[in-house]
């Protein structure tokens, strides 16, 4: 029930949830007695990422692969940015997100020996190239906050950013195309594949030249790194698949 953007009302508090709330309270009290950061029983890992499932299910999937780690998933950049002020032990997000927030990743996710992934332009019926977007609207997931997104999109497209229409999750890009609210959307190749599976529309993709950094990890202290680095490297396939990587190094 910790995911910060999706429907807490949809599920009743579980016994586990109540127990965790109590544990949280105890941890807070302990912290108030000046325990050093990162010394709580369960290290806290904040994750800013999306998956093709509810945030709560995503969170459970990640947590199941990292026993003893308290995972919280965020799907809106503002919430993630604000929550970092709580100083979790570690945070995972796409590398450009961490760098835009002034953080220095210490562990990088890789997929097939690559630390970056390909992005594509997706459109309905006819392929669209970056040069075709002048004067048009491009749909994009807001991963950096509006003020930083023009530069990011411009970098990915290789041309000045057109007018952007923001959403908070890749699955919201499909309605933008269905409702003709954007001429195209920009997203990772992996997500483009998922949208194709969901839709019967004639979706066309144009690969983009510049790739985007895969998820990476920042730690907030040496103790936190000691507690979590090994666990993340050894996390199971379910954890890595959910984040679109195959290994961490």
């Amino acid at each position: 029930m910790k995911s910060r953007t999706e429907h807490p009302r949809a599920e009743q508090p579980t016994r586990r949830g109540r127990r965790r709330a109590l544990l949280g309270l105890v941890a807070l009290l302990a912290a108030a007695v000046a325990a050093p950061l990162g010394a709580s029983a369960s290290p806290r890992l904040y994750v800013f990422a999306t998956a093709d499932m509810r945030a709560q299910a995503f969170e459970k999937q990640l947590e199941a692969q990292l026993p003893g780690v308290d995972v919280t998933v965020f799907s809106r950049i503002h919430e993630f940015e604000a929550a970092l002020a709580e100083r979790p032990d570690a945070a995972i997000a796409q590398r450009p997100v961490l760098e835009a927030l002034g953080l220095r990743p210490e562990l990088q996710g890789y997929a097939a020996e690559r630390a970056t992934e390909r992005y594509v332009l997706m459109s309905a019926n006819a392929p669209v190239s970056p040069g075709d977007l002048t004067g048009k609207t491009l749909g994009v997931v807001d991963i950096l906050g509006r003020k930083r997104m023009d530069g990011f999109v411009s970098g990915v497209l290789g041309v000045p950013s057109p007018k952007l229409k923001y959403v908070t999750h890749e699955r919201d890009l499909l309605p933008l195309l269905q409702f003709n609210a954007a001429a195209a959307v920009v997203l990772s190749e992996a997500w483009a594949k998922r949208l194709r599976e969901k839709s019967e529309m004639n979706l066309r993709t144009t690969p983009l030249g510049r790739e985007v950094g895969l998820p990476a990890v920042v730690f907030t202290s040496a103790q936190a790194k000691a507690a979590l680095d090994g666990k993340i490297r050894a996390a199971g396939r379910g954890f890595n698949d959910a984040l679109g990587v195959t290994q961490w190094r």
Binding site: E6, A10, H78, P175, Q178, F179, K198
Partner: protein
């Protein structure tokens, strides 16, 4: 599903009682039952040099989630001033608030607030109003007509989004979807038909009179389900077609003998003991707040001028309430469906 209406009478009553929230035509947003959550609509102190966005809203549980995400998104750049609207609020009160706060933009939340705002504009035909973003109102594309300087987000989830949601949870092949609608909704349905066609789904409409009898509704449903053999039904959020009498005497008798997936727009219509709604597809209120905030940022980027010909947007994010047993028993549950649906009714 063999529905014995006598033994299931209690469940049907519960379902129609749940529908009382739809009777005002607005599909009342979904609320978890039980303890009333403490409502908090506290504004942050205003900061000098920032534009102000005024939110005219009922302070209710239904609006809080939308308000919360709206304010989270806007709060870093604008002063947000919330003006409560209750049953006793009049247009003069709104006028006073707008004169005092000088907003760059107004957010109008729910049907009653929209009517008050419309009244305010009609009482001041020559006055300048800031651009308004209207949310959580019924059939906004119609309701916004005659309002000066307004845009917004429709509350009704398009059929195409609902059909995609059905495909995600059920293994049933969905190519033809039937819809019974009153004649007054002909234009709404025509637009839905176009959108559905993009997903290679044929929306098969049957129009009934604006004041239909149970027999006419039942016959129309029969034609769709038995003669046309549609793969699913999509139910319009029209209170006149969802009265207790029509549900009992028209909808349920047809669905009793021919179970097919029924997509509704209100979670009260998904009940484990009554074969009516298979899944409800509703706008996600938190995301509605984010979408409204993005509209406001776009307005600010454009110097608080509405783009000419600007259309009412459709809700981008939906949430699903699914009768899992019904889907599993009759239509086949997709293997990963449970991780994707927001609320499982069992």
């Amino acid at each position: 599903m063999a529905l014995d209406l006598r033994t299931k009478w209690g469940a049907v009553c519960a379902l129609t009682l749940g529908l009382s929230s739809v009777q005002g035509c607005t599909p009342k947003p979904e609320i978890a039952s039980g303890k009333q959550a403490e409502l908090s609509f506290r504004d942050a102190p205003p900061q000098a040099g920032r534009d102000t966005v005024v939110v005219l809203t009922p302070l209710e549980q239904e609006t809080r989630e939308m308000w919360t995400s709206l304010v989270q998104e806007l709060g870093s750049e604008f002063n947000v001033a919330t003006v409560p609207v209750s049953r006793t609020t009049g247009a003069r009160h709104l006028a006073g608030a707008l004169e005092r706060l000088h907003p760059a933009c107004v957010v109008v939340v729910d049907n009653r607030t929209l009517e008050l705002y419309r009244q305010l504009q009609s009482e001041r035909p020559t006055a300048e109003f800031p651009p308004a973003v209207v949310v959580m109102t019924s059939f906004l594309e119609r309701a916004i007509g005659g309002l000066r300087g307004a845009t917004g987000i429709a509350y009704e989830v398009p059929a195409v989004s609902s059909i995609v949601a059905l495909r995600e949870v059920s293994e049933v092949e969905v190519q033809r979807v039937g819809v019974v609608h009153r004649q007054t909704f002909r234009d709404v349905i025509a637009k839905q038909k176009e959108l559905a066609a993009l997903e290679k789904v044929e929306l098969v409409p049957i129009a009934v009179p604006n004041d239909p009898t149970p027999e006419i509704v039942e016959d129309s449903l029969d034609r769709l389900v038995v003669e046309q053999k549609v793969d699913a039904l999509w139910v319009v959020n029209d209170n006149r077609l969802l009265t207790g009498e029509l549900i009992m005497n028209s909808w349920l008798p047809v669905l009793r003998f021919r179970p097919i997936p029924v997509i509704v727009g209100v979670s009260a219509l998904v009940h484990p003991e009554v074969h009516f709604g298979t899944l409800a597809v509703l706008p996600d209120h938190a995301e509605l707040g984010v979408q409204a905030a993005n509209l406001i940022f776009d307005l600010a980027d454009g110097g608080w001028q509405l783009e000419p010909g600007g259309q009412v947007e459709l809700p981008l994010r939906v949430m699903t309430v699914v009768d899992v047993k019904q889907v599993d028993d009759y239509f086949g549950l997709e293997p990963d469906a449970l991780a994707k649906i927001d609320q499982a009714v069992k």
